[in-house]
């Protein structure tokens, strides 16, 4: 069952899919390694599900190649591909029991009754569903149905398991549980998982690697940390959580570089990757609200960026508090403060200082 071969598992080469005049997927290039937990992340309509369906063989690409384990599969119908899908609406056969659902694929392959029974037993153990064999899908809870769908696909030992927002219908708590569960199962069986979601937290917590998609294109691919901390575009920064966007002219400042904003603020930024040719061009940085600190006194040392401001809005979020701070009468910054800190008690109209390290400023390379 375990495929430890570190070769490529799925390869997409300039894959394009159109529906009428709408380009759903716009010449995507991507390589997914074997054994990886890979996620497509993006808003609805970004083309992530279409991409998944083209890997599964449920849609045919108009242009481009889809390779699975090196084999070109463009002309293979879904039932001849060694991939399996967990559908968004699960698609459990309502006229079959749990065991019949799970054994469906094996029965199609005409495996012996004994083999089917043994494999079903094993897979039910894996997804913790032993004892539910003779139930019908309608008699199961949402989480249990999820496990059946998973087992039904896994039993076929596919090279790749495709998951199309399988947790979307579950409530928050159950979703958390299932995320951990999915990750555990993936590590246990060791096959490639390709996961589609619009929930950034889900993608960040589960994946080895993420591709952020927007309007049919892959905007950025990388590890969760890379994508969260170093978004390449404002869209990625925004989609992966709240972000402050600041833009200005790149200037020399002391030993390093700074961003001179229109209202006079000068923000120190890391010089990594910047050269003299970038000087005097317009640049934008993104700044995560939790990377900014808030205090009543000016910081004596440490943080390179420190500005005075006024609290103009405050939203209580339970575990933290969101402040909006007005800098220099002009610039609004979003700041998160942990709930247990005394700064969380600050009220609107309070005069405060905000400060952050130059390392947390993420420079958008070009636009």
């Amino acid at each position: 069952m375990i495929n430890k071969d570190q070769s490529l598992s799925v390869e997409l080469i300039s894959v394009t899919k159109r529906y009428g005049n709408v380009v759903a997927v716009d010449s995507i290039n991507l390589t997914i390694a074997s054994g990886e937990f890979f996620s497509f992340l993006g808003p609805s309509g970004c083309g992530k599900t279409t991409t998944l369906r083209m890997i599964a063989g449920l849609e045919r690409p108009d242009v481009g190649k889809v390779r699975i384990n090196g084999e070109l599969v463009n002309d293979l119908p879904p039932y001849e591909r060694n991939v399996s899908t967990v559908f968004q609406r699960l698609a459990l056969f309502p006229h079959m029991t749990v065991a019949e659902n799970i054994a469906f694929g094996l029965k199609i392959q005409r495996q012996s009754r004994n083999a089917i029974e043994a494999k079903t037993k094993k897979i039910l153990d894996l997804v913790h569903l032993s004892g539910y064999e003779s139930r019908y899908p309608e008699q199961l809870s949402g989480g249990q149905q999820q496990r059946v769908a998973l087992a039904r696909s896994l039993i076929l030992e596919p090279e790749v398991l495709l998951l199309d927002e399988p947790l979307a219908a579950l409530d928050r708590k159950l979703r958390k549980e299932m995320q951990i569960e999915l990750r555990r199962i993936q590590q246990e069986v060791g096959i490639t998982f390709i996961y589609v979601t619009h929930d950034q937290k889900e993608a960040l917590s589960m994946s080895d690697r993420i591709s952020v998609m927007h309007q049919g294109k892959i905007i950025q691919s990388g590890s969760p940390q890379e994508i969260y901390e170093h978004p390449k575009t404002p869209f990625v920064a925004d989609f992966l959580g709240a972000s402050n966007f600041l833009s200005g002219l790149l200037v020399k400042s002391g030993n390093g570089f700074g961003l001179q904003m229109a209202d006079g603020l000068l923000i120190h930024i890391e010089s990594r990757g910047l050269g003299a040719s970038d000087l005097n061009t317009n640049k934008m940085i993104t700044l995560r609200p939790e990377a900014i600190e808030i205090s009543l006194q000016k910081m004596p040392l440490g943080a390179k960026n420190c500005f005075a401001g006024v609290v103009v809005n405050k939203v209580y979020l339970g575990d933290s508090t969101e402040f909006e701070v007005l800098l220099n009468q002009n610039e609004r910054l979003k700041v998160y403060v942990d709930g247990h800190r005394k700064e969380a008690q600050l009220s609107i109209a309070a005069d405060v200082f905000v400060h952050w390290d130059d390392a947390v400023c993420n420079l958008i390379r070009s636009d």
Binding site: R60, D75, L76, P77, Y79, E80
Partner: protein, 310 residues
């Protein structure tokens, strides 16, 4: 064997068009031959000339259509409106209209009551109204003839024996008889779409109307009726369209005094052997039906009422 199937499967997957073509060819053939074909025959014949003893002469003419509207006055030889035929058209339209009206007036309250007050027996009630669909049309009409005849029909006997009337009333072989038969036959056609739209109605909207001070009639006038307009229009079309082409009810209950277009057409074929005139009349009847449907569809699209309608 396995490989043939295998290859066939792959071919079908790669060519979805071939799939549709193969699956649909028998039905396309059937419809073309036994629905479209006959209608074209009718259209074709409507432009030909009838000779004596039912023979057909192949010279194209519009005469059959002309005859429907215009007749030559026997004395003056001047063209005059053909009142004989126009009356039949007028009667058919009027009877279909009155039938539709009565079906709405009876059907709407019934559908309303079932949909909103039917409670858990809703499905049973609506089944009760659909059941007549399953019984024989001829038998149902006969049952009414049995009731309406005079003097020996059930109703006349009941009224005579109870002393409410002294002379039997004529209920059959006149307009009353035909109307009763038509309303009876088409009431389910009206109730079903009305029920469907009333059933979908969001009750909280009705409650809101009452809560905002609307009296029952105002609520009906300003909320319920406008919201079920789609159902009302469907019900009207579903009643009017078959009613205007009715054949059997005037045939059996009209006593050849209340002929409609359907009877007229049948007579042209079965009695007069005048296929060409009968064909022209058929084409006109189809055009009337089409016109109603086109208006319905056009208005429906404009008001967006077709969505999910029956």
């Amino acid at each position: 064997m396995r490989s043939v199937r295998h290859r066939l499967g792959r071919f079908l997957w790669q060519h979805p068009g071939a799939k549709a073509g193969t699956a649909l060819s028998p039905i396309v053939f059937w419809i073309a031959l036994f629905i479209v074909g006959p209608l074209f025959v009718v259209l074709f014949y409507s432009f030909l000339t009838s000779g004596p003893f039912g023979s057909i002469q192949y010279n194209p003419t519009l005469e059959n259509y002309q005859k429907t509207f215009v007749a030559n006055d026997l004395r003056t030889n001047e063209p005059t409106p053909n009142w004989l035929y126009l009356n039949i058209f007028g009667r058919s339209l009027a009877l279909a209209f009155v039938t539709t009206l009565i079906c709405m007036l009876l059907g709407y309250p019934v559908a309303y009551w079932i949909a909103l007050r039917g409670g858990r027996y809703k499905n049973l009630w609506i089944a009760l109204f659909i059941m007549p669909f399953w019984t024989s049309y001829v038998v149902r009409i006969f049952a009414w003839m049995f009731l309406l005849r005079d003097p020996s029909g059930f109703i006349n006997q009941l009224l005579l024996q109870s002393g409410l009337i002294q002379e039997p009333v004529q209920l059959l072989y006149n307009v009353t008889g035909v109307l009763i038969g038509m309303v009876y036959t088409y009431l389910p056609f009206a109730v079903i779409p009305l029920y469907a739209s009333l059933e979908r109605l969001d009750r909280s909207v009705l409650e809101a109307a009452s809560d905002l001070g609307a009296r029952p009639w105002q609520r009906l006038r300003y909320v319920t009726l406008p919201l079920t307009r789609g159902g009302i229009m469907s019900a009207c079309v579903l009643t009017f369209v078959p009613a205007v082409g009715e054949y059997l009810i005037p045939d059996l209950m009209g006593g050849s005094k209340v002929n409609m277009i359907g009877n007229f057409i049948a007579d042209k074929f079965l009695r007069d052997q005048n296929w060409t005139l009968g064909s022209a009349m058929s084409v006109i009847l189809i055009l009337i039906v089409m016109a109603i449907l086109i208006i319905y569809l056009w208005r429906g699209h404009r008001h967006g009422i077709l969505e999910g309608d029956f």
